[in-house]
Amino acid sequence: MKSPVLQVRNLEVEYATAKGAAKAVDRVSFDLGVGEFLAIVGESGCGKSTLLFAIARLLSSPAEIVAGSVIFDGVDLMALDDEALRQIRARDISVVMQSAMNALNPTVSIREQLADTCKAHTDWDDAKILERSIEVLKMVSIDPVHLDSYAFQLSGGMRQRTMIAMALLLNPKLVIMDEPTSALDVVAQRSLMSQVQQLRKELGFSVIFVTHDMNVVSHFSDRLAVMYAGQIVEIGETREVFDRPKHPYTFGLMEAFPALIGESRELLGIPGNPPALVNKKPGCQFAPRCTLVQEICRQEEPPLVEEGHHGSRCFFSTDALKQGAR
């Protein structure tokens, strides 16, 4: 792998609830290389957004990072104070939020919103700010006439691309995206993904992309991490994970969406619901929904075992999976 820009080690995040601490992120570790595109997929409530927010240190009470470290470019983000974090955010790490409809300020023009970011983090003069604003809008194929538009005058796809333009203003090394495509139509979704891909190749930033729809990233991400109940249950190269899934949950996710080509057959998805994150049961968290569950799964937690660069938290092999599922 290329040299890592981000190293996450045994990260744990808890939410304080009336019933006790809910462990939303549970011992998550991974590396992200320079220019690499990592996708994180999982169902609602699996802790994927919490993980992103923890990496960017954007969590606030009742969520708390209880253990682990996040090393970005040699600096431990967990040790930084607010001012040092402010310096890093937008300049080195930028975040594209889930719903661009709400993330853009409806009362202020696009020009002013782009300028705000520049003014907060640089000492550029107005001419330089305008020049850069036009540049980033062109990068995402938005005509600079929209500098004077307001959010409501743009379509959903254009708003989301404006958010990406804003994230790229200061040439960050890492762009974190939280479900940027889930509010978009398929055509807009596809053009956004192609655009992110192209920009990443041109500008060389790394991407962490969170989504609940693993299809969206199938042709775009370098690596794929599947989260379940706060843990990474499978991680590997995207194509490898799709072609040879190792964890029954990944297998179930792939069996959960209908295809456009080939024979149309009945799909079953994954029965049951994700477990509560408070007072987690011992053993494999997926055991109650798993079709291949054995006695050992309910007692011991399977470790994340890596073969090559493909890791999985399951006691059983892929062959057993395929036989069990068919």
Partner: protein
Amino acid sequence: MSNSEMNKPILTVDKVTKVFKVGNFRSQASLHASDDITFNINESEIVALVGESGSGKSTIARILAGIYKPTQGSITFEGKAFGEIDKRTLRGRMPLVFQDPFSSINPVYRVGHGILRTLKLHRSDLSKEERVAAAVELLEKVGLTPGDEMLKRYPHELSGGQRQRLGFAQALASNPSLILADEPVSMLDVSIRIGLLNLMRDLRSKEKVSILYITHDLASARYVADRMIVLYAGKIVEEGPSEDVVATPRHPYTKLLMSTAPDPRLPYVELDNTGDLGEPPKVINPEPGCRFAPRCPLVMDKCRTTDPHLQEVSIKHNVSCFAVSQ
């Protein structure tokens, strides 16, 4: 198109057009939200209306729900003209399932409230005990088990998928012949969607209910629907049996939708236009000519001046395109 060999249509939509006046009181601009729409739905049949945002699919749902009055055209439901059916009967025989399960259920009432009320209004022959028994049965029909316990829960205790099942239970309570389902799965996680899609298939085959399934997702439309109707900018561009349309899409817009749908099982197709694939136009004071012409790769001079009409290309498979039907 003849339907003599099919069973009787329960809903016939004939040349329905909805025009909205837009702009200030002096402007005469008119927005053609749906234009010259003709289709029918037969007994126990699922028909999918497929299109992007702004294609006019929700306008059609709202016309059918009696929220908008069509500007032109006529609708016949269960053998009666639309205007002659009283509103409560119409609501009961053709209920709606909404897109957002989080805002469409009143959080202060128990799960049973909506169903019991619907039963009281639409099934006045039942006694109070019979209504509770019927509600339990309905909940179990949509997979909310055990029904008697579910009846007493509050909406916040249900997951998104369960809430949407509740939406279907409420719709079923009034003994409908047709359910209007406007993007019923788009707010749900991919892994939950398949359960709802299977529920819709079950309702068709076991309860003999027809469903108008409105979606932007071609793959799910193929999975549940017998027939699909593809809309673009307020007009029908292609319609036919689902398998036919997906196996041999004829209209360039259907082909665009197919090529942008993310599917890890398909090879990645690099699109010619990697950046902006364009967006459907707002149809204000339309000139004659195909509305897809500005985005169409096959565009000819004729397309910009003359309206194309639906023409049969194979059995019951109609396409509105000069380049294809020639």
